[in-house]
């Protein structure tokens, strides 16, 4: 019986003008374009400079800042007030004030002071921007010391902290984004499509003809689940391929465990979509309910923000989200070369959730109305 139902599902899928294209195009576009767009790396900051010193040192320092690539100079201002206006107008993100006799005081007193001011409307950009700027200046300071080594005003060496970033040495945002995008694509396609499937049979009335046959609930749900399972593999493979071609990102670990996890995750999430479809009375309801859950799950599963930053009660909720475990698997496989054994603790909850949602899907499918 299952065989005929599956044949029907696949025929309907491939005969649809839109769905097969969506399944191919969405992962390609998302993985090719979104990492460029959704980039939280702080770059191209506009910097206003008030150089009241006009010395060789102040010139060198500005060149050093410009060559870092993080900043572009948006203007030179005569005084603090007009520079501040450029921030207020939104022309500049940061300003750097180099006071008069800066070089002199460096040479004579072995110290000088600078002022950095940052526009903190975007707190993260303001904070990171001023940190980058201080780091560049500190770097310049070290060069200055090195160049004048042996001279009279050699300053005391301060303790220097040099962080080494494990797994993502350049702190590239893309490395963080790409696994999240892969998870997103699977959620969108393998969650929404099943959610729309049963309910559209309800809207078309075709489900009546099936309900009046002796087909079992289990067989029926399985016939709805398996196609999305297969589609899930296609989507995941397309995502992995696109990320590799466009960004050279490929799982550093073995791909086999990743696919085992993909299999369980897609099964669970499609099961969840079917549950929504069973309860929904029409397509509109199904779409909005799915939107609600998908957005909530994305936020509580640590896709874009750290899971551990959430309040404890929210973390409890997050533990019921298959997405939480799956995103960890993706990041561990992409960045840490994790083996199956290292991710085993994520496998069991994911399996449990898949069993839970699919049992629910079978139980909530009613061939008979009350």
């Amino acid at each position: 019986m299952l065989r005929y139902l599956l044949e029907k599902e696949f025929k309907q899928f491939f005969r649809n003008r839109f769905l097969p294209r969506l399944v191919i195009a969405l992962p390609l576009i998302a993985l090719a374009v979104f990492p460029l767009v959704a980039d939280m790396d702080v770059k191209n900051l506009s910097l206003s400079v008030i150089d009241s010193d006009h010395s060789r040192t102040s010139q060198q320092m500005q060149e050093k800042i410009a060559s870092s690539g993080y900043f572009k100079e948006s203007g030179n201002f005569a005084d603090y007030k007009s520079a501040l206006q450029s921030i207020e107008k939104g022309d500049a993100d940061l300003l750097l004030e180099i006071p008069q006799q800066f070089e002199q005081s460096l040479n004579r007193e072995n110290s000088g002071s600078l002022m950095i001011a940052a526009n903190a409307v975007n707190g993260m950009q303001g904070g990171l921007g001023s940190a980058y700027l201080s780091a560049i200046i500190a770097d310049y300071n070290r060069e200055l010391i090195a160049n004048t080594q042996g001279s009279a005003f050699l300053p005391v060496t301060a303790v220097e902290v040099r962080p080494l970033f494990r797994f993502n040495p350049n702190l590239s945002y893309r490395v963080f984004m790409i696994p999240a995008l892969i998870a997103m694509m699977l959620v969108m396609i393998c969650g929404f499509l099943p959610a729309l499937n049963i309910v559209s049979e309800k809207e078309n009335g075709t489900i009546e003809q099936v309900n009046v046959t002796p087909v079992s609930k289990f067989t029926f749900i399985l016939s709805k689940l398996i196609p999305y399972w297969v589609i899930g593999f296609v989507v995941a493979t397309l995502c992995i391929f696109t990320a590799f071609v466009f960004y050279g990102m490929f799982p550093t670990g073995s791909v086999l465990p990743l696919y085992i996890f993909i299999a369980v995750f897609v099964l669970g999430f499609s099961g969840f979509g079917l549950v929504v479809s069973n309860y929904a009375k029409n397509i509109q309801q199904a779409i909005f309910v799915m939107f609600f859950f998908v957005i909530t799950l994305i936020f509580i599963s640590g896709l874009y923000t750290p899971f551990k930053n959430m309040p404890a009660w929210m973390q409890m909720l997050g533990n019921a989200s298959p997405l939480k475990y799956f995103i960890q698997v993706l990041r561990m496989t992409y960045l840490k070369s994790a083996t199956f054994a290292e991710m085993q603790h994520l496998f069991y909850p994911l399996c449990a959730l898949a069993v839970f949602f699919n049992s629910w899907a079978v139980l909530s499918y009613w061939k008979k109305s009350a």
Partner: protein
């Protein structure tokens, strides 16, 4: 031998009583007409008999199985054609046939022969590969009927099978119904075309959830001293209007 036995069958939707205490029997091989105006409760009653809707109270058996507790067994022995066309419009004619033949357990090797036989019976040989959505309504209804009896059920339930179909196609449709009855399939059919009621062996007339009359068309006409089923129906329907005032 009764293939459908219903006793005091009732269905409530909240405070609304859709089917009110109906009792009747349908004999094997009969063409049983289930008449009533729109909203009289025909479809609700039929859905309970097919195991699509749980009765609020009362009992019934279809093909010997209890409709409340053994509805999945009932489904093995019945065919059903709903009022709204319910085959897959994005599948071809033969693909719909194959799907339902498969679901009802026709052995895989026999399915192509079954499809060919059905296409021949319908005169649909040339439409085998047509998408169902491209068929005219009358053809769709014939296809839906033939799919509903693909597994040679004991009883077939037809819910307004000729709604919106032109007179010539309706007559042809009734020829199919007679042919099915000749093959021993009991036919339970709802309609509100009174000329069709004359084709039934026995009819029941439902008014506001109750069965107000049940007999052969000839005896009903005699009982109400009128010339046609249409007049019988009008008399009963008028009575209902009077009751509502």
């Amino acid at each position: 031998m009764s293939v459908i036995k219903v006793e005091n069958l009732t269905k409530h939707f909240g405070n609304f009583i859709a089917v009110n205490n109906i009792t009747f029997q349908v004999e094997k091989g009969e063409i049983f007409g289930f008449l009533g105006v729109n909203g009289a409760g025909k479809t609700t009653a039929m859905r309970m008999l097919c195991g699509l809707s749980q009765p609020t109270s009362g009992s019934g058996t279809v093909a010997g199985y209890d409709i409340a507790s053994q509805s999945e067994d009932v489904k093995k022995h019945i065919g059903y054609m709903s009022q709204k066309f319910a085959l897959y419009e994005d599948l071809k004619v033969w693909e719909n046939m194959r799907l339902y033949a498969g679901i009802y357990g026709v052995p895989r090797s026999e399915i192509p022969a079954v499809i060919d036989r059905m296409l021949a019976a319908l005169g649909f040989e040339s439409e085998k590969n047509t998408l169902v959505k491209e068929l005219p309504l009358g053809w769709k209804q014939k296809l839906a009927f033939s799919v509903s009896i693909i597994h040679r059920p004991e009883i077939v339930f037809l819910d307004e099978p000729t709604g919106g179909v032109d007179p010539a196609a309706r007559r042809q449709f009734w020829e199919f119904i007679y042919k099915a009855a000749d093959e021993g399939i009991t036919v339970f059919v709802t309609t509100h075309y009174m000329d069709e009621a004359e084709y039934c062996h026995r009819v029941s007339i439902m008014v506001d959830g109750r069965i107000e009359a049940l007999d052969t068309p000839a005896r009903l006409k005699q009982q109400f001293s009128v010339a046609s089923m249409d007049d019988v129906f009008t008399k009963l329907a008028r009575k209902a209007e009077g009751g509502e005032q």
